[in-house]
């Protein structure tokens, strides 16, 4: 084997290589068109845009690997954001860490409802979460009486988490990366993590081999709820404004797009935390690139969609060319 072949073979072991390649192409093209893209100010604004997406996408990766879907993540994020916002408005001196735990707890409770419906009551995930998408959004309105949480209701210690001023890297970015690390280790090294792949590859075989399918599925939706809750907490820090109609509405589509772009097989059984991370970064970069390259506003959405399709297609092309239609992820 030539050394070049060696490198290719080495790269081919990583599912993420296609998406990494595409990310590089987008970065280079954008920089050529608008050199300001690489300025630190701009890169830091991308960094601020992606943590919510990354955090929830880690849960979504597990859900999709298990051959399921969760459409309620945007509503879970919005509801958790509202709970965190209302709690902090009522108790301005509450430690921020407690507020974060409240957000995670709220999300986990909602995720447990999804998990119960899907794992125990065997409601198809797309139906169950389509229902809870509306129910959770409805609860946001009921809880808040339709009124927004405004910046003056939130303590400065909270919004500080989303400011690059002192730490250079905003704290919510660090939190998101920690979630990626945990998700990566969970999927790679933990028995339960591996079980998720088995369930997604073949649920019946997994059951026959003694994989605790019901318990594992419940856990997957519980985790997704918890990370959505964490993202809800981050949402209040990032936007300092929670509008019941707006917070997280439609966000599930971005999350699913990032996860699929990141190489998670939509029919389950394959995917990785790192791939999803790259998918999120790619979406963040594309959104930013569309805004700073003076592209006609009317074209932005269409171009955005086209780039997503090209990204997924390129990714599958590269993986096939490298000779290994990876089914089972690393």
């Amino acid at each position: 084997m030539t050394s070049k072949g060696g490198i290719v073979a080495f790269l081919a072991r990583f599912r993420e290589v296609g998406i990494l390649f595409f990310l590089a192409v987008v970065v280079v093209l954008t920089t050529l068109k608008a050199p300001r893209f690489l300025q630190w100010d701009n890169l830091s604004s991308i960094l601020l845009d992606v943590p919510l997406l990354i955090t929830i996408a880690m849960g979504m990766t597990m859900v999709i690997i298990s051959r399921n879907i969760d459409l309620s993540v945007g509503s879970m994020m919005g509801l958790s954001a509202m709970v965190v916002g209302m709690t902090l408005r009522a108790n301005p001196n509450l430690p921020i860490l407690v507020a974060m735990l409240i957000g995670i707890g709220a999300g986990a409770a909602l995720g447990a409802v999804n998990g119960t419906l899907i794992a125990f009551l065997r409601v198809p995930a797309i139906i169950a979460t389509l229902g809870t998408l509306s129910i959770y959004r409805g609860i946001i309105f009921i809880l808040s009486d339709g009124k927004s949480i405004n910046s003056q209701d939130l303590p400065d210690a909270l919004t500080f988490l989303a400011k690059p001023a002192i730490t250079k890297i905003p704290i919510i970015v660090v939190i998101a990366l920690l979630v990626v690390l945990l998700a990566h280790l969970f999927l790679r090294t933990q028995r339960t993590g591996r079980d998720i792949f088995a369930i997604g590859s073949n649920p019946n075989a997994a059951r026959l081999r003694g994989v605790p399918v019901t318990k594992t599925l419940f856990l997957v939706f519980l985790i997704t709820g918890a990370v959505s809750g964490l993202a809800g907490f981050m949402y209040t820090a990032r936007f300092a404004f929670v509008d019941p109609a707006q917070a997280g509405t439609g966000f599930e589509l971005s999350v699913i797009a990032a996860t699929v772009i990141g190489g998670t097989a939509i029919f389950g059984g394959a995917g990785s935390a790192l791939g999803t991370l790259l998918g999120c970064l790619l979406l963040g970069v594309i959104n930013n690139a569309l805004a700073i390259t003076d592209l006609n506003q009317m074209w932005q959405l269409a171009v955005y969609g086209a780039i997503i399709l090209i990204a997924v297609y390129t990714d599958s092309l590269i993986r096939n060319r490298l000779g290994k239609p990876v089914k089972e992820s690393a």
Binding site: A34, S45, S144, G146, A165, N287, A291
Partner: protein, 374 residues
């Protein structure tokens, strides 16, 4: 099978008789009782309102008696929206002056068709007048025309049945579009010292009001008075937090010499001021536009935003009340150029298509923002 048919026929007969009784002619001189709640101040008394509502519900079941109080219902776009709560506060203020029964009903979501069942319900309750902030210029028109045909007076508030003006008798516009757009340019000019690059962060590319304002702003900038101000970019945040923030960040990056941002949308303005503040540029870049005091109070207090504008939503409800009471007792006949007295807001004129302008834009700053809570 037969019993079911009988049942349906019975239902049909009941329905028809119900509609027929709904056609009862009402006296045009329905006098407004002046025994109105007089307990002080401008603050509307919630309990009084609630009690009035219940009573009138009973009253509406029997045919309208001219000595009964006028019953007005307001249908905003959706429930729980603080903006419409403030519009409603204008109705309640006028209620203490005019003494009518007032109720507010609305769908949970602002979908095009969601208001229709509420209009039908009010027709059945035989209210005297409906004020509506329509979610769609088309969807609600047939229902409103049905109400008009039954002698119920209908006006639109805050949003109109554009292109379907025969579905209502008059429209209370928040403020004059030209005046709003011009005041935005005046504001930004004042904030940046009449000189420098500015950009507009709008909502969606197809929002009619946004596009009118942007057009007028562009025309206003041609005035020699503003010759040192360059409008360098117009971007669209689609009224989403994330997209608005991304666009605002891009503005700072694309235009290093930017001095001001006008965001004539309540979502965009919050994103813009947050982005500018986070970037540490609140001192060199002025953000203004149209927004809600509650959303922007903190930025005004910290000084990141000096001034912004909006109309006073309460004025619309207040003027709408005087208009509807006048229509019901026959004292107001809408026509281009005609006018009427709207209590403390004095004389109001009907413009073309019977549009009534509620008032001039209201500018909020550190000095007055504490008086407004919406």
């Amino acid at each position: 099978m037969l019993t079911r048919k009988c049942y349906l026929a019975l239902m049909g007969a009941l329905l028809v008789s119900g509609i027929m009784t709904g056609c009862d002619k009402k006296s045009p001189e329905a006098s407004t009782e002046k025994t109105a709640t007089k307990e002080g101040g401008t603050a509307p008394n919630k309990e009084t309102v609630a009690a009035g509502t219940k009573e009138s519900g009973k009253a509406a079941e029997i045919a309208r008696d001219p000595t009964k109080r006028i019953k007005i219902v307001y249908i905003p776009k959706n429930t729980g929206n603080v903006y419409f709560d403030v519009v409603a506060s204008g109705f309640k203020k006028a209620q203490t002056e005019l003494g009518f029964d007032f109720d507010i009903v609305a769908p949970a979501t602002a979908d095009a068709a969601s208001q229709i069942p509420f209009i039908k319900q009010q027709i059945q309750l035989k209210v005297d007048a409906i004020a509506i902030s329509p979610n769609s210029p088309d969807a609600v028109k047939p229902a409103l025309q049905e109400a008009l045909a039954k002698g119920i007076h209908v006006i639109t508030i805050d949003a109109d049945l554009t292109g379907n003006e025969d579905g209502r008798e008059a429209y209370v516009i928040p403020a004059d579009s030209d005046l709003i757009a011009k005041s935005q340019i005046d504001l930004i000019s004042e904030l940046i010292g009449g000189k420098g690059e500015i950009a507009i962060l709008s909502a969606t590319t197809d929002a009619p009001n946004q596009n009118i304002w942007i057009k007028v702003m562009n025309e206003t900038l041609k005035d020699p008075k503003f010759k040192d101000i360059q409008l360098v970019d117009t971007v669209y945040g689609n009224d989403q937090d994330q997209k608005s923030a991304t666009e605002a960040q891009a503005l700072l990056l694309k235009h290093p010499n930017l001095k001001g941002i006008i965001a004539p949308t309540s979502v965009g303005i919050v994103s813009a001021v947050r982005v500018v503040e986070t970037a540490g540029k609140a001192n060199s870049i002025a953000v203004t536009g149209l927004g809600m005091p509650n959303n922007l109070r903190k930025y005004v207090q910290t000084g990141s935003m000096k001034k912004f504008a909006l109309w006073n939503p309460a004025d619309m409800g207040y003027i709408g009340s005087y208009l509807l009471v006048g229509l019901t007792n026959g004292k107001i006949k809408p026509a281009n150029g005609a006018s009427f007295e709207a209590g403390t807001l004095k004389e109001r004129k009907f413009g073309e298509l019977n549009k009534v302008i509620a008032g001039p834009p209201l500018v909020f700053d550190k000095g007055n923002i504490e008086q407004f809570h919406f």
